[in-house]
């Protein structure tokens, strides 16, 4: 029932748009009826262009997420397990973190030219920070008794990190990756819309510039579905892996 009520608003909006478009015999370079957008979307699926664009965008988003996530994880473990390192890096983190990721677009463009490398570099920078900060907090916040156990067992630092620290901090580290995944997709689409001729963002800009509002709207809805689906999948995985309690924290 509640699901039906949630659907009522968007369905009503779509029906209204469709009726309005049919009543006015819409012929436009800026707007398209929902049915035309659906047709254009099906064409894009049929000729494979939507699939290729989606794969390009996802490759960039996940490539950047993996790169930034690994560096963020390593840095977060270092800062979280050593209070000295954390204090020494305080200013550098504070100074670099507020740089808007999109400000790096021109730098990456100049250094790498257009293509996957440039986009992955920017996504990696954006995905690095949430993983770094949440990993640091998670590692610094684990139960001191666990560290006493590690000391009693005389574990080396590496074994201690892998066997005690990481498993204990994992649920909160996962939250960092969840945030980073959303950011990665957003930044990938942003880079494509603004400069890089790849993927869904560029497909949208191309549809807009070639006066195909139906295709543009189809891309927009598909990007929305993709973002929603990614978030849904990660929240679902989180619940499966760590139970309901792990969902606390910034959503």
């Amino acid at each position: 029932m509640s699901r039906l009520r949630g659907l009522a608003f968007p369905v009503a909006l779509l029906v209204m748009a469709q009726v309005a478009a049919m009543a006015t015999h819409l012929q436009s370079y800026t707007l398209a009826a929902p049915s035309d957008a659906l047709l254009a979307g099906m064409h894009a699926v049929a000729d494979g262009s939507l699939l290729i664009a989606t794969l390009q965008t996802l490759a960039n988003a996940f490539g950047g997420l993996a790169l930034g996530g690994v560096f963020g994880l390593i840095g977060g473990i270092l800062l979280g397990s050593s209070a000295i390192a954390d204090r020494l890096m305080e200013f550098s983190v504070e100074a670099l973190r507020p740089i808007p990721s999109v400000a790096l677009i021109p730098i990456a463009m100049l250094t790498f030219g257009f293509g996957f490398r440039m986009e992955i570099a920017i996504v990696a920078f954006a995905a690095f920070w949430p993983v770094l900060i949440l990993t640091r907090n998670a590692v610094a916040g684990i139960d001191p008794a666990l560290l006493d156990v590690a000391r009693a067992l005389r574990l080396r630092p590496f074994a201690r990190t892998v066997k005690i620290v990481l498993p204990a901090a994992l649920p909160r580290i996962f939250v960092g990756f969840r945030l980073a995944a959303g950011i990665a997709l957003t930044v990938a689409v942003t880079v494509e819309v603004s400069t890089n001729p790849l993927g869904l963002g560029y497909g949208m800009i191309l549809a807009e510039q070639s006066l195909h509002p139906d295709l543009m709207l189809a891309y927009l809805v598909w990007i929305g579905v993709l973002g929603w689906g990614l978030n849904f999948a990660i929240v679902h995985a989180q619940r499966r892996l760590f139970g309901r309690s792990a969902l606390a924290g910034p959503s």
């Binding site: 509640s2 699901r3 009520r5 949630g6 659907l7 009522a8 608003f9 968007p10 800026t30 707007l31 204090r87 020494l88 890096m89 305080e90 200013f91 550098s92 504070e94 100074a95 670099l96 507020p98 740089i99 808007p100 990721s101 999109v102 400000a103 790096l104 677009i105 021109p106 730098i107 463009m109 100049l110 250094t111 959303g182 997709l185 957003t186 689409v189 942003t190 819309v193 603004s194 400069t195 869904l200 963002g201 949208m204 800009i205 549809a207 807009e208 509002p213 543009m216 709207l217 891309y219 927009l220 990007i223 929305g224 973002g227 929603w228 990614l230 978030n231």
Partner: protein, 253 residues
Amino acid sequence: MTRAGWRLASFAVGALFIVVWQLLANAHVLSPVYLPGPDRTWNALLRGFASGALSDQLWQTVQRMLLGWLLASLVGVAIGAAIGLSAPARAYLGPTLEFMRPLPASAVIPLAIVFFGLSDAMVLGVIAFGAVWPTLLATVHGFAAVEPCLYDVSRALGLSRLAVIWKIALPSSLPDILGGMRLSLTVSLILAVVGEMLASRPGLGSGILVAARTFHSADLYAGVVLLGGLGYVTAQGLFALEARLLRWRRTAI
């Protein structure tokens, strides 16, 4: 070591990184066409402010960001309050809002270009649209989470609906709203920069893009440093505002 001592040490580490950057640039690891040293970046900053070009761009971007953010905050709090106060509205609109939240705001840029052209209004519209979500959703959450007893009290006191919102619901959801507005401000800066790049409106975003396209790497890095500074100042400013506005909470608990 004292707190100030650690702070100084962390400045020293930051300075060390800048020295390493200088050495890398001097060693021509990357061609100076692509990678300027901190010395050339600093000179470009001074030159830009002396000629007024950089300060103009900074001002344009700040205006855009703040205007879009204020618009988003007003709309977000107003709509969020309306939805948060009414359970049926939450049931009907909640799922749509949840669908819109993960949508990359930059994906509406092509749509905005179609409606507004490559204009200042387009950039402002995109900033406002993208920045509205964190504030709106935080407001919905804040209003929905108001202690039900407070509503009973207000009914007993015979408060009007407006008085309930102003005196009870708004203050009690202020922590959520301010948290959302802080996120919105970050989004505003990002979208201001992207919007300027795409629509070629004057500002730091288009400034650094032009600098990159003309291989003026020192100007490019100067612009990026300035954007980082802008991000830092606005985030700190909002933290300070939050601490000030929420002072009553610490004493109340």
